[in-house]
């Protein structure tokens, strides 16, 4: 017996790739706007979440590109307010995660995402080499990557005084295991 679901899959669309990777079906979104209404950063986004979904629903290359190039996708805080309240139970942050990955893969990430990306990369590098987050190293690395050398120069000494900044990294014992872990996940490329 056939399931009867033999629609054409537009494999070249972002919507299809999202469904494959996250299981989220874009068609579930009926554009009620509740996500945008509750999103703490919607007013800063060039495309609020419901607009991102609207564009993806078309399945047209020019709209997919606009989504991938948007700044808004980098502002999502993954606070899950939208998905918690979504009447259609769409896991929006999961989709945002995936779109960001695609934007990077296709070299379409918004220029202003550079800082955010620099932070995340520095974060992961830190744990790849030490196993745990080394905050001083992270901030230094971030500064180099983002070229915001002067950012937070005032905060660090205060934190140090309060005993909140360790100058030496915490190293875990099995650092080779950590390298192995990165190699077999993000490093699979």
């Amino acid at each position: 017996m056939n399931s009867g679901s033999h629609h054409d899959h537009h494999e070249d669309t972002l919507a299809w790739r999202i469904q494959q990777a996250t299981g989220v079906k874009l068609a579930h979104c009926y554009q009620c706007g509740k996500c945008a209404a509750g999103c703490p950063v919607a007013d800063q986004m060039d495309l609020p979440p419901c607009q991102v979904f609207r564009m993806l629903q078309y399945g047209l290359p020019e709209y997919d590109k606009r989504v991938l190039e948007s700044e808004g996708i980098w502002l999502c805080l993954a606070c899950e307010t939208c998905s918690t309240r979504c009447p259609q139970e769409v896991e929006i942050p999961k989709v945002m995660d995936f779109i960001r990955g695609e934007a990077l893969r296709l070299n379409l990430a918004h220029p202003r995402s550079r800082d955010i990306l620099a932070f995340h990369r520095a974060f992961l590098d830190s744990i790849e080499y030490t196993g745990r987050l080394y905050e001083v190293g992270l901030v230094a690395d971030y500064k180099v990557r983002s070229r915001h050398f002067l950012k937070d120069v005032m905060l660090a000494p205060k934190m140090y005084v309060k005993g909140k900044l360790g100058l030496l990294p915490h190293l875990i014992k099995n650092r080779r295991g950590m390298k192995h872990l990165f190699k077999h996940t993000i490093g699979k490329g």
Binding site: V41, C79, T185
Partner: protein, 287 residues
């Protein structure tokens, strides 16, 4: 009571006082903590942005290490850590096909048998004991601030109710505090944008500080290191954004409970805050 313990990176650095106060309070309540040996970072707010598998493998390694150490229940005080651990555990439960790849990456078997709990859940179990042992009731008006990760997404964390949660309020009542009725218990503070988009943090956290004060709170009580650093370390930026000097301190729930139990403010790391807890020294002598 014996329970596994996963402090997470923040509790070793910028939120050291959360670790200190959690250990102090749980010790006072007779809970023995068994730290997960050679634990690693959970990936927190970065791994899932860049790579899905990595975001599962990092927590999976922690849980597998806990399993090897014979830990059946693990406390992750950091809300971000407990959220990531739970997400990874459920993702592996829902998609067993991912398991071989993950086990290969972490170089260990993973069973998924460890139960993950947050600090409020553990304190909630000890609530009766806490109220009995309270020697210095915390007679302050407080804004209990849960943030995002403790209660959302509800299908993952399955803890308290997603809007207007109650567990921290009840705990605070148990130690003599008066929680204010406020609508921003689970609004986002700006989370991981602490370093990169401080402007957004100032705005979102600013809204929280402003409203808490307006509703008469003497302190904002948190259970998440990220929330705490945004409300405390970023207070200068918040005040600049709001064009007003707000001095309301942000305290960890463990610090509040610790004070109520009569523990030494220093042992609770209260001196580490950038926004001073002005009443900390006197809190102990109030009745």
């Amino acid at each position: 009571m014996r329970i596994g313990y996963y402090p997470g990176c923040s509790l070793l650095g910028s939120s050291r006082e959360f670790d200190e106060s959690a250990r102090a309070v749980l010790k006072a309540l007779g809970v023995e903590l068994v730290e997960v040996p050679d634990w690693n970072c959970c990936g927190a707010s970065s791994a899932h942005i860049l790579n899905h598998e990595l975001s599962i493998a990092l927590p999976a390694r922690i849980l597998a290490l806990a399993e090897q150490a014979g830990i059946s229940e693990i406390l992750a005080p950091c809300a971000a850590c407990s959220n990531r651990l739970l997400s990874a555990q459920q993702e592996l439960e829902k998609h067993p096909e991912l398991l071989p790849g993950i086990e290969k990456a972490i170089g260990m078997p993973y069973k998924g048998s460890v139960k993950i709990v947050n600090i409020l859940e553990v304190l909630d179990r000890l609530k009766v004991l806490i109220s009995v042992l309270t020697t210095a009731p915390f007679r302050k008006k407080v804004a209990s601030y849960y943030g995002c990760l403790l209660v959302r997404p509800p299908r993952v964390v399955n803890f308290d109710r997603p809007e207007d949660p109650q567990s921290m309020d009840l705990l605070l009542k148990a130690v003599g505090a008066t929680p204010v009725e406020w609508p921003f218990k689970t609004e986002c503070c700006g989370a991981a944008f602490s370093v990169t988009r401080t402007d957004i943090v100032a705005k979102l956290s600013g809204k929280l500080v402003q409203d808490a004060v307006k509703r008469g709170a003497d302190a904002i009580v948190v259970a998440c290191p990220m929330c705490h650093s945004n409300l405390d370390l970023r207070r200068a930026e918040i005040n600049e954004y709001l064009q007003k000097e707000y001095a309301v301190p942000a305290m960890f729930i463990t610090q509040v409970v610790g004070l109520a139990l009569g523990l030494d403010p220093k042992a609770l790391g209260l001196h580490r805050h950038l926004v001073p807890v002005a009443f900390a020294e006197t809190a102990g002598v109030q009745s």
